[in-house]
């Protein structure tokens, strides 16, 4: 078969190519470029190969930040996902004023900018003027997020739960609303218990939105920066210094561009790896009942 080759067709993909190049490939390649050089000043660079990577991987402060980060993200998921599901299950259905009110209330925290959330909790937790801080003090609980590292850590976690559980709840609610009422009727006729309805109808039907919720919450919490920065500035000590804050200190504070670039690439790969693991695990779980 004679097919006419027309190479002008390549022109059609030029716009896409240009956009992707400027928005993704070039910035990424710049980082890769920095990560293999020692930079002294504009135009003064020295190729150092993988030296930055070995330095970064051996950095104990970074190890600490990574461990802190992983524990934090897992805690966020362990709290927000079940809590979001429970809230979604308890939400009123149908088109009523109650439904609209619930949806608006849930959406409120999502509308507040990150740094404002940090400021709100900073004031909220203060022992002298904050409602939470003053309440703890009145109850005789010694709570101080600026000096006690556990208090600081828990406050950052609670702040995230307050800020983002709504998102999980709204996603799950959307998933639940898409289940045709006939499923519930059928379950009722079968005499299925509430737990069975949840386990065999609602949970499998929510799988798609749960994947999205887990991935979004994981990636977001793994890259958390603004809230702890505003609340504690990473302290006390390094107790709330997460990866992105350490990275910023390195890049902007110490101007270690090469090292920070190598760190960024490793950071990116870690996020990618975790996301892949979560995705695979959730997508396989539903079919686990099969064999």
């Amino acid at each position: 078969m004679d097919k006419v080759q027309d190479n002008r067709a390549w022109f059609l993909i030029v716009p896409v190519f240009v956009i992707v190049a400027f928005s993704a490939i070039l910035p990424l390649m710049t980082v890769v470029n920095y990560s293999v050089q020692e930079i002294f000043g504009p135009g003064q660079t020295l190729f150092v190969g993988t030296e930055w990577f070995t330095t970064v991987l051996a950095d104990t402060r970074l190890h600490d930040a990574l461990v802190r980060q992983v524990i934090y993200s897992l805690a966020v998921l362990a709290i927000e996902i079940p809590l979001g599901i429970v809230i979604a299950l308890g939400m009123p259905g149908g088109r009523s004023a109650k439904t609209s009110l619930t949806l608006v209330l849930l959406a409120l925290p999502l509308l507040i900018p990150f740094n404002v959330v940090g400021t709100i909790w900073q004031i909220f937790g203060r022992g002298d003027i904050g409602l939470a801080g003053a309440t703890f003090r009145a109850l005789g609980i010694n709570y101080n997020y600026t000096s006690n590292s556990i208090d600081a850590w828990v406050t950052v976690l609670v702040m995230d739960v307050w800020h983002w559980t709504s998102l999980v709840a709204l996603l799950c609610y959307a998933g639940l609303q898409s289940i045709p009422p006939a499923f519930y009727q059928a379950a009722k006729i079968d005499g299925a218990s509430k737990w069975a309805v949840f386990r065999y109808i609602q949970l499998p039907k929510m799988r798609g939105v749960l994947v999205i919720a887990v991935l979004l919450r994981f990636m977001d919490s793994f890259m958390i920066y603004t809230e702890p920065f505003v609340l504690t500035g990473g302290g006390p000590g390094n107790s709330t210094t997460f990866l992105s804050q350490y990275l910023t200190q390195m890049a902007v504070g110490q101007f270690d561009i090469g090292k920070a670039a190598a760190f960024s690439i490793i950071y990116f790969l870690i996020v990618l790896l975790f996301s892949f693991i979560f995705y695979t695990v959730i997508m396989r779980t539903g079919e686990g009942d099969k064999s």
Binding site: P180, A186, I189, G191, A192, E287, D289, K290
Partner: protein, 367 residues
């Protein structure tokens, strides 16, 4: 199970979804609920199932009053328009789920699941998830799940409506056989007169929340008690023309005269309405008794291997059936033949006065 509905009605707010009706379903009977969309078929089924409580009237299972009893305590199974299966369970576990709930021993469950699956021809797919099956197979799985339960009352709410034509015919042909175990009382809702005729048994015709007629399917089809009932139970819609009945003929409003036949002889003279089903208005003149009617083709549609010709005749549009696939140019003159021996005679109020067959001697005075 004998299911008895005594004057049940359903009202939601100001809407009367179902007007009071009484119905008795014998054990092992096959009952078709026929009605157009919004006729109240699903409402009635939900009352039968106990998913909803009636706002008036009582429901009896084998003489026991179960009005308002929770669906959990009722002996029923149901199949829906949508293919309802547990999404995360295999076909095997789906079918086994009602038996496991009943606490049956494992070997009995296995035997029943495999037997039912084989009957519905989904036995090769027992280890698959519902989402990995075709639509027809998913519905077979749902039917198997309902069947295996061995409930006294099996409700099917338009189970074939979401399947394509071919699958629908295939499954419909099997259904009668599958349900004929003699113990289960089956209720099958459909909008299609054809489906009701193929499935047989008895039929209950619903229209706008009212029960129009109930009885053996062929009897209701041949002698619908009202014009409304005939309209619901006809596809394409029955032709209805104003007429005057005299002592020697039926004079249609357009001037066509139909000779009297066995069933409409000896009726009191006066105005009436005549119903002619499309299959009794033919393009081919099959006998000399047929009376010609001329008209202009408005539309000619092909359904399966039949052609339905819509023709303009005076003020009305008539629909005639023609065997085989034919094309008639729009606007062309056509002559069709009405069969005077097959017409239905209704009073001016739409009540049946005379129907062919005359088996039940349906002769009444014209109002």
């Amino acid at each position: 199970m004998t299911l008895t509905l005594d004057g049940v009605a359903k009202r939601v707010g100001a809407d009367q979804h179902l007007h009071p009706l009484s119905l008795e379903l014998r054990p092992g009977s096959f009952n078709v609920l026929l009605g157009r969309t919004l006729a109240g078929k699903t409402t009635l089924m939900r009352l039968m199932a106990g998913l909803d409580a009636p706002t008036a009237g009582r429901v009896f299972e084998n003489g026991k009053d179960v009005t308002g009893a929770s669906v959990r305590h009722r002996d029923i199974a149901m199949v829906y328009q949508q293919f309802i299966n547990y999404p995360a369970m295999t076909v095997y576990d789906n079918i086994a789920s009602p038996l496991r709930r009943q606490g049956k021993p494992a070997d009995e469950i296995d035997r029943k699941v495999r037997g039912t699956a084989a009957m519905l021809r989904i036995d090769p797919y027992l280890q698959r998830l519902p989402a990995e099956l075709s639509g027809g197979q998913q519905q077979r799985c749902a039917i198997a799940r309902a069947l295996v339960k061995g409930a006294g009352l099996l409700l099917l709410d338009e189970p074939l409506v979401n399947l394509d034509y071919k699958l629908r015919e295939e499954l419909r042909a099997e259904l009668r056989e599958i349900f004929s175990d003699g113990k289960t009382t089956v209720v099958y809702a459909t909008t299609e007169p054809q489906e009701a005729l193929i499935l047989g048994g008895s039929v209950t015709v619903l229209h706008e929340g009212r029960l129009l007629q109930t009885g053996p399917t062929s009897e209701v089809f041949h002698a619908p008690l009202s014009e409304e009932c005939a309209a619901v139970f006809s596809d394409p819609p029955m032709n209805v023309v104003e007429a005057i009945l005299t002592n020697d003929r039926v004079a249609l409003a357009d001037g066509t005269n139909l000779p009297l036949s066995a069933h409409d002889r000896n009726l009191p003279a006066g105005p009436c309405r005549v119903g002619i089903r499309a299959n009794h208005l033919t393009v081919l003149r099959r006998s000399d008794r047929l009376v010609p009617i001329r008209g202009r083709v408005e539309l000619s549609e092909i359904s399966g291997s039949e052609t339905y010709v819509h023709l303009r005749h005076g003020e009305t549009t008539l629909i005639a059936r023609e065997e085989g696939v034919h094309t008639h140019p729009i606007g062309s003159e056509i002559q069709v033949y009405a069969d005077p021996d097959r017409i239905l005679v209704f009073s001016t109020g739409g009540q049946l006065v005379a129907a062919p067959h005359g088996r039940r001697g349906l002769l009444r005075n014209i109002a």
